[in-house]
Each structure stands twice: as C-alpha cells, then as structure tokens.
Symmetry: C2
Subunit: 375 residues, 2 copies
C-alpha cells in the first residue's frame, strides 16, 4: 500500500503517502503550480517551505507547452526542476471553467482552447495518457463536476457519468502506468448525501489509490462544505488518502482535517500573495494598508522562512504599493510557508492526541466562519 495511517485523533488522521518521488506527510497542503511554475516563486523556495507535493494543471499543460513536449523533456519534474511529488488534475474542471465551446458527451468532452481557439478532446483514457506523459506521481480521474445548485436528476446523472468514466480511467491507468504511480478517484454528488454515498461506493468498488472529494469549493458556504464532508468522508476507505480538491482558507483546512481529510490544494495563498495579502500566525494581513508603512517588524520574527523573517512589514508595504514584482514573490513565499507550518502543527497535534485543543486554539486566529475573517 502507498498510504500508511500513522495515528488518528477523533476523525483527524496523521498519515504518510509514498510516491515515486518521495514520501508525503499528511495532512498536507499542495501549492498550485498551474503552468509548471508556482507563480512568482522559484521551486527552490517552494521546497524550502517544506511542501512535499506541487499540483500541476493538465488543462494548461496540455495546451502549453503540450503533453508530448513535456514527455520529450522527461516529464514535469525535469522540466520544472521540482524533484518531489507532483499531482496532476485531470483537466476536466478547468475545461468547464476556462475553455470555450465545450461539449460533453458520454465518451468525453470536446473544447476549444482559451489561448488560441484550437480544438481538443479529453476522454477518461486520454486524460490518463496525458498525465502519464506529464509524468505526475498522482493522477486524478476525469470526472464531471455539476454546477450547483442543480436538480437531483442532474446530480445523479453526473455521479453516474463520473463513475463510468472512473472505471474506464482505472482500466486505462492499470494497463499503462509504470509501477508506483498512483491514481485517485473523485467522489461527486453535490450536497446530496445519498448520491455522495453512491459515488464513494462505486469508486471503492473500482478501487483507487486515493479518494478525492470533488465539487466543493465552488462558492458554497463553509458550513455546507463541512456538512458534505460529514456525510461523505465516513464512506471513504480508512486505509487510503482523502483529498479535498481546491480548498481553502486556514479555517477550511482545520475544519476539514477534523473531518478526516488528508490532502488539500488551493491557489489562495499564492493568489493572495500576488495581491498584497499575507497569511501569518497573527491572521490575514493586507500589506497594502497604510498602517504598515512604518512597521519595522517582520511578518513573523519566529519563522524560519526568509520572506516572513528577513523583511519588515514596512518594506513589504512599500513593494506592494509601488508594484515591485518582489512583493508577489515574498508574500507568496510567506503564505505557502505559513500553510506548511499550519499543516505541520496539525500533524503534530494529531500525533500527540491534542488535535481538538490545538484546533480550538487556532480558531481564535482562524474562526470557522469565513465571513468573520478580517477584511
């Protein structure tokens, strides 16, 4: 088995995932490296935060530079210089959010590139093949994520289609993937408990190396996301990793770990960094705000992240205000570092059996309702 469950504390889990590019201590947060780069960061600095997995976006990479080309380069690891684990999504989600002229049929999805209008097609099998060419350690199945709110019939139809695609994806992967590579199935079903259960059961029947909860983090309130996790995660195998896709804020992460999630990815810390916002142990700070103009303290003097430790808030404020590219680099770095520290804190708490107390402590900084976060 590629996943080892090391400890539990309530529903929270401390685990270890092994891939062809190393081990991943879970719960883990995966920075997003959309186009073979974590935006504004050097991979050297991403690695220094303790990040053990970077996510690549199949949709973007199949368009530019192209999967065949990445394969000729020896895969995403050699291409980008990231030598630890890489997870790729299937491309399906971004086809639905970015591509134009998209058309789903039972066999797959046809779409036009948002870059140059060129026509492309993704099927469960071609998504496996493209991800093999990208050389990712962890693949995601092609699925269909229904837009919420949706009728019960639409939700059921998407679960049925995603399960059919899951079976085909698993067959294609089993037939072609080198040993050690992993493939995850994706639970769909919107907010419908019975459909989520049916989706999970179907995926388990097929048998994947890990199970993702999809279709969340699409604008729903945090309470609704947590409720969906409450009725979904218990259906997932305890001996496989649980991945909540596209999530989230620190409060989201803490609440989802409490509900048995092991893996996360989100553009939030990097996107926020590029827009002048820092995530720190003191909460979220808007560095654009004039109140930092004379603050000589670093973001976090106790951090061992150079971006959080070696520059004053006044300097970061100046860089943000004048539009220097270094602002994006330093704040993205500090944010990804904070997310990694948060995950380490949660991992240590689960191992020590103190998760509930630590989560309660953290909720003073990161209250569970996003609306209550500092603006």
């Amino acid at each position: 088995m590629s996943f080892e469950l090391l400890a539990t504390d309530g529903a929270a889990r401390r685990g270890r995932l092994t891939t062809p590019h190393g081990t991943v201590e879970t719960p883990t947060f995966m920075p997003v490296g959309t186009q073979a780069s974590v935006k504004a960061m050097q991979m050297r600095d991403v690695a220094a935060t303790g990040a053990e997995v970077v996510l690549g976006n199949t949709y973007h990479l199949m368009l530019r530079p192209g999967a065949e080309r990445v394969a000729r380069f020896g895969g995403l690891h050699a291409f980008s210089g990231w030598n630890k684990t890489i997870l790729t999504d299937s491309g399906g989600f971004q086809v639905m959010s970015l591509a134009s002229l998209r058309k789903i049929d039972d066999d797959g999805v046809t779409f036009a590139s948002h870059v140059d209008g060129s026509k492309h097609r993704l099927t469960p099998e071609s998504a496996v093949d493209i991800q093999l060419k990208l050389g990712s350690d962890i693949q995601m199945q092609l699925d269909e994520c229904v837009a919420l709110p949706a009728s019960p019939e639409a939700v059921a139809r998407s679960v049925t289609l995603s399960l059919a695609w899951a079976a085909r994806a698993r067959d294609a992967f089993t037939a072609t993937a080198p040993a050690g590579r992993l493939q995850f199935g994706i639970v769909q079903g919107g907010t419908d408990a019975a459909e989520r259960a049916r989706s999970a059961a179907g995926l388990i029947d097929i048998g994947f190396d890990g199970y993702a909860v999809g279709g969340l983090a699409v604008g729903e309130p945090q309470a609704e996301m947590f409720a969906t996790l409450d009725h979904t995660v218990p259906h997932l195998p305890a001996d496989a990793p649980h991945y909540l896709m596209g999530v989230g804020t620190p409060a989201d992460l803490i609440g989802a770990v409490a509900r048995g999630i092991d893996m996360f990815d989100c553009v939030m810390p990097s996107r926020a960094g590029r827009h002048g916002t820092a995530y720190t142990a003191q909460g979220r700070l808007n560095l654009k705000n004039a109140k930092w103009a004379d603050d000589l303290e670093p973001l976090d003097p106790t951090s061992d992240c150079p971006a959080a430790r070696d520059y004053s808030k006044a300097y970061l404020h100046h860089l943000v205000r004048v539009g220097e590219p270094l602002a994006a680099t330093l704040l993205t770095w500090a944010n990804i570092d904070y997310y990694q520290r948060l995950m380490r804190t949660l991992r240590d708490a689960i191992a020590a059996g103190t998760f509930t107390a630590i989560a309660a402590e953290l909720s003073a900084t990161w209250p569970p309702t996003p609306a209550a976060e500092p603006a």
Copy 2:
C-alpha cells in the same frame, strides 16, 4: 584615498574602490534597484552574481517611501536587505524624464510627482541631504543634463549651472556626511569637447571622490558616445574612479572600459530579462522565439548561475510564452550574472595585460555597432 588603481592596460584600468559597505573591484557593473528592489529579483540572488554595488534612484525613493522614512528604517541597506555598497543618483535626471510641471531655476528644480502630483523641490543641498538620509555609500551631485541636440549656448549654460551646483553640493556634503561616504561630480558638456574639458576641470578644482560622465546614453549612436569618452576621460584624474552613467550594452561596456571607464549602471539587463531577452556568452537570445521551444540546453551549462545553468531554454521559453512571473526572475538573474561575468573577464584581462586581445575576442559576440546586434 578610497580608490586604488591596481593595473592599467592601454587606457583600460583595473581598480578597487572602498566604501563603508565593502570593496568594489573595478571595472564594475551596478544593477539598478530603482525602488529599493532590483526588479523581479531577491537581493540574495543579486549578491550571488558577484554584484558589489546596487544603484538606487533618489527621485523614486524620495517620493515612495520617502527619504525621512528610509532614514527611520536605518537607511536603504537595512530597508532592502542589500548589505554591500549602494550608489544613489541625485534625482535630477529622473525629475527631467518622469516628473511633470518641472521648473529649473538657478537654485534648484521644482516638480510635481508623477505618482500623485504632490510638489517637491530638489536643490544641490537637499539632494545631498536626501541621499544622506537614504544612507547610500556613494552620492551623485545634482546636475543639469541638457537634452541633445542643443545649441552651444545651451550646452555652455548647463555646464556652468552644473558646476555651480557641484560646488554647493560638495560644500553641503563636506559639512554633513559621515566619514567614509563618497560623493561624485558629473561631467556635462554634450558632445562639445571644449565644454567637456571645462566641466571636468571645474569639478577637479572642487575636488570629488569620483567623476561621472553624464549626458550620454540618451539615444546617441555608440560611435558618438565613444568619441565623447575619447575627449573627456583624459581630463579625469587617474587616481579617482570614472563612472559612465546609464550605460549600456555589452559592446558599450567593452568599448568604454577600453577608454578608461571604471563603473557602469544600466536597466538594460533587468528590463530585457522582464521582456524575455537573455544576455549570454553566445550573444543575445530572444526566448519568446519558437526556435527555443524544444531546446533542452540551458542558457549556459558552464555558468555557476542557477538561472543560466539549471533550466532548459525550452522551460524558459514556456515561462515567457505563458507569462509566468518566474520568467522575469530567471532571465533578469541570468542577465545580471552575465554582465558580472563580463566585467570579471575584463578585469582579469586588464590585470593580465591581455585586454586588447580579449576585447577583440568578445567583439565577435558583441560587435561594436549596436545596429549589428541580433534582433
């Protein structure tokens, strides 16, 4: 004396400048850190190229974050994290090129900020004071740079005014600057040999720690710049550093070193890097060009600069094409590194008495006429 002349080879000079923040081996190229940041770079990586001086722009810094504020932060070094030598310009050149509503009188220049329209005034004395607050190691006098072409009368008037300002700047500096800090005068005079000679003589009479050639690199042909150096540099004291402001291409640097210049600054390597152009030992490369899409070679496998050594041209091409911020970081880094390697090569050649041969060799890659450079 802060400057030691170690060797000469023809008119080319190998020297060493000592400032409160270390020694500077000359000839040297100074990356431009306009707003307390070398655009898209971390100072750690700038230092790794071997750069020993970074230039700060007084005009930008007096507007944002403001000289008083930088002084409260402990100066530019503490603010930006650059611990080696900093040279600041006087602000005058950028007042004339960027500010609106500028008005020169005999006492100084009044202008409105291009950022918010706020009114400011620079005089020879206030430019000294502001640069002292910024904490730079090397100050430039406030001068007036006449726009070319100009009438002989206008050139003469600007030389006379700049000399009057030079005397006032020197008095103010001598009265207030801590020991060890340096101040350079600026030779003006357009392309008029007699005015250049008069300007140099006047400055030497006042007595500065170094002498800059100003009013060049404003769009004139390279041959005209070299001709001006030919009739200007011989008037400068041999025992003081000679600084050619705002220059230039590798060919400019080689030709100017051959004419006795010791110091350079230019936005070219950093600006080019942000626009997808690399300066390498093989010449100038436009990484946007599709011909690099499948090139797995690094920019320079023999370089010890990570940006030039650890990434394929194909990856850099991809980053440029998709607009990833990392493209600007890596290409700026590689370019500044190449400029530093070029200066090391020239320094070694002068010390070895092989400057003419090495310059001739380099001219195969960097021919002396900019129009002949690869597009």
